[in-house]
Symmetry: C2
Subunit: 422 residues, 2 copies
């Protein structure tokens, strides 16, 4: 298949983009791309490729942007129930305690998720993944963390493994039993951490090798925050994970600075995520490391606060900055990386080209998939979007809608705006 005559073929070639180099889009005007067996086989200008491959089936992208599929490297996409009532209570001025008393908060999602069958969880998650695909997100990180018991966390893992095999999206699975202290351990957080480190993690490793060896080992993640896990607890859990061979991530500095970001760098974590309260020293550490700095502008936006991750400071320090949605039922039910880009521009003062690179190649790096997706280069997966605009800068500039006309995953059309979603 030959996609040709793109007004801009946005390649984002050359690997993850560090520091102020962020935003190199490698645009080929009047660009073309040949896809074979789901892989990008050639790339160049339209005249050359039409001459080289005259008999290939054609897709005419005249007047449109062709770009890599968006990558969302931080989501809590699997859960049961919703918290719409809690959202309203919060706006009516109810306090956190009143909301808890009326059944709100993260533990209400834990309760609904524990009660849900695998089938119910799969149906609800599938609907979200399909909407994300229609909004142009072709590779998605997905965390457990609303089970908080070994059985229900495993139930979430099983559903995610099933959805990862089903596709067409690529899923990067993350095991996050350290998302909150489960009610059963509310007076013994250390005991929970010890249980995780000594039993759940080795048992997850064995389960994975026996049941999901076709997929890469999941990430292990910890929510390092006041009210969740301390720095010492985070360190304990992640060292145990690393000893088992799991790659790791940390939710750090969302509200309070506990030192999670610098720990992420020290442990060689794939990413440190949130970073709103990161210190100058944390940012310097990120700048000297390969730990990707994942900003989640939907979270402060969702909460109606005004503190965003210091994107420009991270770039000035030389960090690898990525964007993600943080899709979750509490603080930010947003399935659109186009929205994350629009927020990154307005609230973090990224340019559209920076935000786009942060939402593709750097986002892929945050989940260890930058060798396969996140750019349009020979040998990579043919995951790409055709936008209904002639200039990439409309991403960011426009917001609240969907600029995607067509989505292709491994060379196959999986969404078309004119034909509805598959």
């Amino acid at each position: 298949m030959l996609i040709h005559s793109a007004s801009q073929l946005v390649t984002i070639s050359g690997g993850p983009q560090r520091g102020v180099d962020l935003g190199r889009l490698g645009i080929i005007p009047n660009g073309a791309m040949r896809v074979q067996d789901g892989i990008i086989a050639d790339i160049g200008i339209t005249d050359d490729l039409l001459e080289k491959y005259p008999d290939e089936p054609h897709v005419d992208a005249s007047g449109r942007v062709v770009m890599p599929g968006l990558v969302d490297p931080h989501t809590h996409v699997i859960w049961a129930g919703d918290r719409a009532a809690e959202f309203e209570l919060r706006l009516e001025g109810k306090t956190y305690l009143e909301i808890l008393a009326s059944g709100g908060g993260i533990l209400s999602t834990v309760q609904a998720t524990r009660l849900a069958s695998r089938e119910e969880l799969a149906v609800q998650t599938l609907a979200r993944l399909n909407r994300m695909l229609a909004l142009g997100t072709t590779t998605i990180e997905a965390k457990t963390g609303y089970g908080l018991s070994q059985d229900s966390e495993l139930k979430m893992i099983k559903v995610l493994v099933e959805l990862a095999r089903k596709g067409p999206w690529d899923l990067a699975i993350t095991y996050l039993p350290a998302h909150a202290i489960p009610p059963e351990y509310k007076d013994d957080a250390d005991g929970y951490c010890k249980e995780l480190a000594e039993a759940w993690l080795p048992e997850m490793k064995s389960w994975w090798q026996a049941n999901a060896a076709d997929l890469p080992l999941p990430f292990v993640d910890v929510f390092c925050e006041t009210g969740a896990f301390t720095l010492e607890q985070t360190d304990l859990i992640l060292r145990a994970a690393i000893a088992e061979g799991f790659p790791v991530k940390i939710h750090s500095d969302e509200f309070d600075n506990l030192g999670g970001t610098t720990l992420a760098v020290r442990l060689g974590a794939a990413s440190a995520d949130h970073l709103v309260a990161a210190s100058y020293r944390d940012i310097e550490a990120l700048g000297e490391s390969n730990t990707v700095a994942v900003a989640l502008p939907g979270t402060p936006f969702g909460l109606g606060t005004s503190d965003y991750a210091p994107g420009r400071a991270i770039l000035a320090a030389g960090g690898i900055l990525a964007l993600a949605s943080d899709l979750n039922p509490g603080t930010s039910w947003c399935e659109s990386m186009q929205m994350a880009i629009a927020l990154g521009c307005r609230q973090m003062k990224l340019t559209p080209s920076q935000a786009i690179a942060a939402a593709t190649i750097n986002a892929a790096a945050a989940i260890g998939k930058d060798g396969e997706v996140g750019s349009l280069e020979i040998g990579k997966q043919a995951d790409f979007l055709i936008l209904d605009v002639a200039d990439y800068r409309h991403l960011g500039y426009r917001y609240g809608g969907n600029l995607v006309a067509e989505v292709y995953k491994r060379g196959i059309q999986v969404y078309s705006a004119s034909g509805g979603s598959l």
Copy 2:
């Protein structure tokens, strides 16, 4: 036609909602509605209506919300060109003067719009109206104001009249040659205002009576702001408009407080729009009037600023608060009233029910159409949405996507998510 089994039939009955009464949604659980000849003929609970009208064709809305079509009472939907490059320059830190020097700013849109043919303008505007329809907006206010010459403003009016007749949307047309001082008058703003008041307005009145008498007279609007029109100039233009019989509106207090809001109330304007810099006295005046307070949260969001219209203060004063998108190519290219609702909740601390009433019945009041649209009541137009959720609060709670499954205008399906847009 009988739409039945809605989990919530959101009627928003009883007319515009003033002050802290905002948010009465008049929800009928398991609701049903009979539509005849494009008008709502009956409304009630499903069992009753199924028994009364057993032979009517049925639409099953089980597990879904049925609500009035959204009304967008402030847009600049008609223009040519775009300002994506300017958006990028702004984020790169370029100054306003540098942007002007590189061809940016409102006058670049004026130049493109003056050069565009009626056909080009119609095609670009039609695409936007169709996207708005797919996002659930069935009634749309549309302003001229990028022509700024009598001919090009008339060209915009002609396109809008043509699009209003074409439908399926209802358009409320607004004549806004007082959007900016045209380059030809840059040293003679008073002369421009005199020309408008003494020649353009009476001539527009005559043109309308001869060519568009099937449509209500347009609103006349003025951008009362530092760098645009002074309070005295606004007063002069609007008094002339009122003398000709035009209903009027004012863009007031977007950045600076020039007194436009209180003038709007004194003149009996249909609405005062923006209101970010409104004073306590302005808000009190709105509270005692029928002038609708139109908040445009997309504008500060689009600009990345943190000052929003004081929605709760307007409610406390007893004002009639509406939401609008302010869709325009400079500060806020957003076609989604769902996004305006999400912003109203997060940035103005409205509850979902308040934001929904502000985006339907009160928005209709801002353009004098609350007798026809904006609620689901017997005798009103059957303009309604079927949302792909069971609880209205998902509007506001979720953002960045499209919760609309189906859109009906005058009883006819004009959009379906599964079948693409018409």
